[in-house]
């Protein structure tokens, strides 16, 4: 009875796409599966850009695992895909629908709250049949070990649970992957950071301004000089009756430029091109942020340790290559493969081999190849070395480079649409800033719109979010409050800013006995739980307890 510990065959931590896929495959294979999700509802902790893809070459797609997924859980399909090269008000737009449709069965815009909670209901039904189910409001805070071996999980809200298999699908800030030594927080250049505003726009206005029907939608990407030289880009995706407008940048570049993510988003929001779309309809309903692993550098080729298998963001499985950003579909593939691996290993009477089998499947099914493309490794070895990168930039901006761009003209659109080239784009200033700016200056046309609104300020944005505050239980501890160690958090944190006292981090001047010192202070209340500060500052970062902290309504 009460002195006996609780045991499940499989415990899946996190009910995002990776966890949901893993649980669905496990449950369909008759594995007793318990899914633990820390949000008040699945999706309430999650943020995406976001497009979800079904790839023709993928071993699993989300709609194959969850029939009716597209009808019930997504917004609009992407039927047109554009890349805008921007230099001030000059814009040169490329139609890169062909690139987008390469290996793509379909791709839909999604909002995570709705999508994840829909999937969670299906998962609960499936898992209930195995004697398990899905529980929300439960935060798994670590791995349960017995003699050094992983044997289950520990939770804030429940007594420890033993399991033959633990799936870490607990996202980019995976506490389990860190606990098992499968992920670290060391390098800002292994991460991107995205911020997003969801803007309510009636569907008839979307239809009118984008020229799309009910079952059509568009994806727009932005690069060039509108982000103050920070490496990254912006996006606008059409949802059913809202727009997802956001930006994604290399985290090391944000830190280097001391850029304020919310201001970079504002630069996009107020660009003349968006002014035309948003005129009279700027109704921002949610501001959110997310840290994104760069799989080219962060995807763990061996994401398992003992009984623990990591999937999705927790394993760094987020592919950003050129203008194509894919994460959720890889999480689905990986989650399903992890479930499949355990079911097979169990059938052979060797459940302990699930990890190795999962690793092999990731490789053999081509998932690892997409996450860490070989071509990129070769190209980046050369292209990302500073002298080469600088030389490329100088050449492009020189009269010779500009002439080249002019001569290439329309053929640039084809080059941008090359799936191969998109894989080997180096992570330098050139493809994100220099080249698009030159293209726009040389080939672009002036756009005339003017924003008839002021974007919401940071205080309003974070004030409009829903929090269940956990007074007395801060989930971040600042280990070193010196500006040298943690100062980057002040600017890089999406809800903090220099000269703003109402955010998560702020810089303070402390005067003692005539001497003056700058320090970083922390107030975790408006935290959007992106985890940025865990990478750029010296903190002890963990998730808030189950159901506590920020609750995204859109995601």
């Amino acid at each position: 009875m009460t002195d006996e510990h609780e045991h499940y065959e499989a415990v899946v931590v996190g009910a995002g796409p990776g966890g949901a896929a893993a649980a669905a495959v496990l449950a369909r294979n008759g594995v007793e599966t318990l899914v633990l999700e820390r949000g008040v509802e699945a999706g309430s902790k999650n943020v995406t850009g976001g497009l979800v893809y079904a790839e023709e070459s993928a071993p699993y797609t989300v709609d194959a695992l969850f029939p009716d997924f597209r009808e019930e859980a997504t917004e609009r399909p992407v039927t047109d895909y554009y890349l805008h090269n921007v230099a001030g008000e000059q814009v040169e737009t490329f139609d890169i629908t062909d690139l987008h449709e390469h290996d793509t069965e379909w791709s839909d815009a999604v909002l995570r709250r709705e999508m994840d909670s829909w999937m969670a209901d299906r998962v609960h039904e499936l898992a209930s049949e195995t004697g398990g189910g899905l529980l929300t409001d439960v935060r798994v805070n670590g791995l349960l070990r017995d003699g050094g071996e992983i044997v289950g999980v520990t939770c804030d809200e429940l007594d420890p649970i033993w399991a033959d298999l633990v799936i870490a699908a607990d996202g980019v800030n995976s506490e389990l992957a860190r606990d098992a030594g499968l992920m670290d927080w060391d390098d800002p250049d292994e991460w991107f950071q995205g911020v997003k505003a969801v803007v309510d726009v009636p569907s008839e206005i979307i239809a009118e301004r984008f020229g799309v029907g009910d079952d059509e939608g568009e994806a727009h990407l932005f690069s060039g000089d509108l982000f103050e030289g920070v490496r990254g880009g912006g996006f606008v995706y059409t949802n059913e009756d809202s727009l997802s407008i956001g930006s994604v940048f290399h985290l090391d570049s944000i830190v280097e430029q001391e850029a304020e993510p919310h201001q970079l988003l504002d630069n996009l929001l107020t660009h003349p091109l968006l002014a035309d779309w948003l005129e009279g309809h700027y109704d921002e309903v949610e501001y959110s942020a997310k840290l994104v692993p760069d799989s080219k550098k962060a995807a763990n080729p061996s994401p398992h340790e003992g009984r623990l298998l990591a999937v999705g963001d927790a394993a760094g499985q987020m592919q950003a290559q050129g203008p194509i950003i894919k994460g959720m579909n890889h999480a689905v593939s990986a989650g399903a493969l992890a479930g499949e691996a355990f079911a097979e290993a169990k059938l052979r009477g060797k459940p302990e081999q699930a990890g190795d089998l999962y690793e092999r499947k990731l490789r053999e099914e081509g998932v690892m190849g997409k996450l860490r493309p070989k071509g990129y490794r070769v190209a980046s070895a050369l292209g990302e070395r500073e002298p080469v990168a600088n030389a490329t930039d100088s050449l492009l901006t020189s009269p010779v480079g500009r002439l080249g761009v002019r001569l290439l003209g329309d053929r640039l659109e084809d080059l941008y649409s090359s799936p191969y080239l998109s894989q080997i784009v180096p992570d330098t200033q050139t493809p994100y800033v220099t080249l698009p700016t030159v293209i726009a200056e040389e080939l672009g046309e002036r756009v005339a719109g003017e924003a008839d609104f002021e974007p919401k300020d940071l205080a309003t944005r974070i004030g409009d979010l829903t929090y269940d505050t956990d007074v007395g239980n801060p989930h971040i501890e600042l280990l070193d409050d010196s500006v040298a160690a943690s100062g980057a958090a002040v600017t890089a944190c999406p809800v903090s800013a220099k000269d703003f006292g109402g955010g998560c981090y702020r810089e303070e001047t402390v005067k003692t006995n005539g001497s003056e010192q700058k320090r970083v202070s922390l107030d975790t209340q408006p935290c959007v739980e992106c985890g940025t500060c865990a990478v750029v500052a010296d903190t002890d970062w963990e998730h808030p307890r189950g159901g506590k902290g920020v609750e995204f309504e859109q995601g």
């Binding site: 009460t2 609780e6 499940y8 398990g132 189910g133 529980l135 439960v138 429940l158 007594d159």
Partner: protein, 289 residues
């Protein structure tokens, strides 16, 4: 495990809901009846027992037919069966004749359930929002001849040993928490500090399943409702209702109302002169010079 929860319908005393006549008497007709707020903790305790031990929860109330709405509310917190003890003979009962009536109801359930015998646990909330005497629970337990544990803030039941172990809050100069054990069948009065605790995933999963089941059942709550008259319970008319109530109310004094109108002056915080004046006026109230 079978639990019975005793609940009472009380006037909804929340602001804007309650109506009084010119003499200050409560106008029952114009004031909605709701479940006594303290009874929600008794229901939670019974639900916790059902989640952890399995079995069923019955909810019982004595009152006019209008009390069905209170029982409907109880159904939404996962009750299986509802019992309304309703009869003109039971009207105007004090705590004592109410206790006799309720204990008759509990015994009738035991009789109806036959072999399974009497309910293992009877729960009541701590005092009602209207009478505030806190007597009905203990008196009912006396009528049923059961051990009683009051002010319970947490509860575990041991099926095999047929005991319950409870933490109870003992209020005094310093609040103390006392752990007690009682044999089943027993009577439990929950404290408003009662908190159910579900530390096992299987219990949370069962809780979730019961919730889903109840959502369907609450739609058709009247199919689970049994109404018993005094005759059904075979109660002696001399011991129930007004006739069975030894309590005599000699009079009712209305609580003096706060003056409805107060004089208010707006003072601008940056008007120095007005602020000075305000401080002068406040000084004697604050005990200053």
């Amino acid at each position: 495990m079978h639990s019975v929860v005793l609940t009472k319908g009380v006037p909804d005393f929340r602001e804007g809901q309650v109506s009084f006549d010119e003499d200050g008497h409560l106008e029952r007709g114009a004031t909605p009846t709701v479940m006594n707020p303290n009874d929600e903790f008794a229901l939670e305790a019974a639900l916790q027992t059902k989640v952890k031990q399995g079995g069923q929860v019955s909810v019982m109330s004595m009152g006019p037919p209008g009390y069905e709405s209170v029982l409907e509310e109880a159904m939404s917190v996962y009750a299986d069966d509802l019992y309304l003890l309703s009869d003109r003979e039971m009207a105007a009962a004090d705590t004592w004749s109410t206790a006799i009536t309720l204990s008759g109801g509990v015994e009738k359930i035991a009789e109806r359930d036959g072999q399974s015998g009497e309910p293992d646990l009877v729960f009541a909330g701590f005092k009602t929002a209207d009478g505030e005497t806190g007597q009905t629970g203990p008196q009912t337990s006396w009528c049923l001849d059961r051990p009683i544990v009051t002010h319970v803030i947490s509860l575990t039941v041991d099926d095999e040993e047929e005991t319950l172990r409870a933490k109870r809050l003992v209020e005094g100069d310093a609040n103390e928490i006392e752990t007690v054990e009682a044999p089943l069948p027993a009577f439990v009065v929950t404290d408003p500090d009662f908190e159910p605790s579900y530390r096992r995933a299987e219990h949370r999963l069962r809780h979730k399943r019961l919730k889903a089941e109840t959502e369907e059942r609450v739609e058709e709550y009247d199919e689970h409702l049994t109404t018993w008259s005094a005759e059904d319970l075979d109660l002696d008319p001399d011991f129930i209702g007004l006739d069975g109530s030894p309590t005599i109310v000699s009079g009712v004094d209305p609580i003096p109302k706060a003056p409805s109108e107060r004089e208010a002056t707006t003072v601008a915080p940056d008007d120095e002169e007005e602020m000075e004046q305000l401080i002068d006026e406040m000084r004697p109230l604050a005990g200053g010079e």
